[in-house]
Subunit: 158 residues, 2 copies
DNA sequence: TATAAAATATAGCAAAAGCTAACTAATTAC
DNA sequence: GTAATTAGTTAGCTTTTGCTATATTTTATA
């Protein structure tokens, strides 16, 4: 199958309604999703640590575990990674702190998360559903789309 | 930190604007995302196989690899898994076919994908951006939100 | 203050999803 | 019809993200 055939007419009649994208562009779609999946859990952890500090005064591993819905061992391992990445500063058996880089990531993630959540609410999605959808969608929304969502919120809010 | 304290007043003044959700609900958010991530790659493969069959007449592993942006070995491994899951029927060195279950999953995924894509376009997102965002978002949109997106499309299309 | 409980850490296991390298089968070109 | 090219498979490696079980440390209680 050569490059010419690759992006050309389908063999059957009805099926050409929405053609396949060019191979390179198509691959880029999936690559973008894979890249998002590499960073999204880290962002969620950092964002949650920031939220816990803001709302509760401190971020403890056990609260991360219960809110994430995973075991403490899983959190422990992730915290080590966040340390290695320079996002979190922590001492053994003590609660967690964000580095400068961590705080900056937390703020970015929270801002993005809030926009997506408010957008869904403005669309008319029920709050509990909007929260669930936003938790996943936030990592797959481009800056372009985010800006449009923000405008939509402003136009449909009061 | 007990259950009472868990969902109560923050220690600092300004920070209570948007409170943390109850622990159980918060955990459910992340669990839903983790569940979506377990099935999303499978859905993307099945959907792509269906699209290739519809548009090109057959689905070959090499085309899956180039469109997914991964190596053939990766596709080979995934195809074995799709076989085990009863979604794909294939013989060594021959092109791929969907089972009944596979076709049904492909149709569902495509319908959902289309709605998300059209919704983004209706919002005003550029086509190439909309395609990228839709590829990731589609797996994190609830039925409730999807219905609202569909309504939005109908109201804003002609 | 000694002990019980809770929190944290570490070791080892598993599945998923990618990779490269080496091999085999099928198709195409000559 | 053979040789070269293309396509597909398999084995073995790596990283990520979960888990359980066990040890250690900190905190709370009697
Ligand atoms: Mn998230
Ligand atoms: Mn995702
Ligand atoms: Mn899709
Ligand atoms: Mn997708």
């Amino acid at each position: 199958m050569n490059d010419y055939e690759q992006d050309n007419a389908p063999p059957t009649g009805d099926s050409s309604r929405d053609a396949l994208p060019p191979v390179t562009q198509h691959a880029r779609q999936y690559e973008t999703v894979r890249n998002a999946h590499e960073t999204e859990l880290i962002e969620d952890y950092v964002e949650l640590i920031g939220d816990l500090i803001r709302h509760r005064g401190e971020a403890r591993a056990t609260d991360l575990a219960s809110r994430m819905g995973v075991r403490q061992a899983t959190v422990s391992k992730m915290v080590r990674r966040l340390n290695e990445l320079g996002l979190v500063k922590s001492q053994p058996y003590r609660s967690l702190f964000l580095t400068e880089a961590g705080q900056s990531m937390a703020e970015n993630s929270r801002a993005r998360h809030d926009i997506v959540l408010q957008f869904l609410r403005a669309l008319g999605v029920r709050d509990s559903t909007a929260r669930i959808d936003a938790e996943g969608m936030e990592h797959h929304v481009s800056d372009e789309t985010l800006a449009i969502m923000q405008r939509f919120i402003e136009e449909n809010a009061k």
